[in-house]
């Protein structure tokens, strides 16, 4: 088997395991990464919401915010895990597509 084939398979396994990145923090009651708090958390932490942050934070409306479907607050962990896997598949598909395109544009031909 070619090494790239093995690596693609490995990537598939990693995608299936990806919900661990959601479930482990949940299990150990860990919150956001440092410096990546939402507006409400900031207010709790420092007692106010910095004005510029409040204005800029909602700047971008991502289609799959935080690797979940929109409006999935309060949904169960199995729903969130499935959304996480779908996000990984979508994200990897786009990442692979974009980097193949960039690679093809840049790479030397015929080698």
């Amino acid at each position: 088997m070619k090494i790239t084939t093995k690596l693609w398979i490995g990537l598939g396994v990693v995608i299936l395991l990806s919900p661990l990145g959601l479930l482990l923090p949940e299990h150990f009651k860990a919150g956001a990464a440092w410096g990546e708090w939402g507006i409400d958390e900031i207010k709790k932490l420092v007692g106010y919401v910095p004005k510029g942050l409040e204005k800029l934070a909602p700047l971008w409306n991502a289609p799959l915010p935080d690797y979940a479907f929109k409006g999935s607050e309060g949904k169960g962990l199995s729903h969130l895990s499935l959304a996480y896997i779908i996000s990984a598949v979508v994200g990897i598909a786009v990442t692979v597509g974009a980097s193949l395109l960039v690679g093809k544009l840049l790479a030397k031909k015929g080698k």
């Binding site: 990806s18 919150g31 942050l53 994200g91 960039v102 093809k104 080698k111």
Partner: protein
């Protein structure tokens, strides 16, 4: 380590976009010269791996979370410039599709994770594995150390960028306008958790994959890349 929108003031966001422009340009120019057509799938795999490894949030019980980047691994296999491109692609996709990292912070996030991290890791790996045979254990150790230091360097820079915000932007009565914590809090918090936990994840992932490739595809570890 993905700085969201609203945490950096316009000066910092703008500065890092401007700083990244010549780096992205150089990366495109150098990769154009060095990347072979048959390496393109590896570039895509590197970008995809980096994308997904960042989804593995590791918890500090009752505290925050963090993750590896896989960027030093990409740099060892593709060279630092191609790794810069691969990680940039992953970070842009994360920001646009998943809101992981802000649109305004793409410059800064790329500077930390797609530039400093792979370059630091790559040259450290090079120095530590100098003259070591491709199949040697020294390569595995060098990869681990490079992963650890690369991730921590990126975490340190991210912390400095956060920590400068209250100095740069605040109201007359001392309220921060953007990221609220100064260097005295941001640096120990970010660097501490990465030194203690997340850096080890990057180290282990990098070392294990290099060990796997020594057996499966030693040709990928030959010198003279990048």
């Amino acid at each position: 380590m993905h700085i969201p929108d609203g945490y950096l003031g316009p000066a910092t966001s703008g500065f890092f976009y401007v700083a990244m422009l010549p780096i992205w340009t150089a990366a495109a120019r150098i990769v154009k010269k060095t990347l072979k057509a048959k390496q393109v799938p590896l570039l895509a795999i590197g970008a995809a791996f980096s994308f997904v490894i960042m989804m593995f949030n590791i918890p500090i019980p009752g505290g925050s979370t963090g993750h590896a980047v896989g960027g030093v691994l990409a740099a060892i296999l593709l060279g630092p410039w191609a790794a810069c491109i691969a990680i940039t692609v992953a970070l842009v996709v994360q920001a646009l599709l998943f809101g992981d990292g802000g649109i305004t912070a793409i410059g800064a996030n790329c500077f930390n994770m797609a530039f400093v991290l792979p370059f630091m890791g790559y040259y450290l790996y090079k120095a530590l594995s100098r003259n070591a045979p491709v199949g040697s254990n020294r390569r595995v150790w060098a990869a681990g150390v490079a992963g650890y230091v690369g991730l921590n360097a990126a975490a340190f820079l991210t912390a400095v960028e956060f920590g400068l915000q209250p100095l740069l932007h605040h109201t007359a009565d001392g309220q921060a306008l953007y990221s609220p914590y100064g260097l005295n809090i941001a640096v120990p918090a970010m660097v501490g958790e990465h030194l203690l936990i997340f850096g080890w994840i990057e180290a282990i992932v990098t070392a294990l994959v290099i060990k796997f490739l020594q057996k499966q595809a030693p040709e990928l570890l030959q010198e003279g890349r990048g």
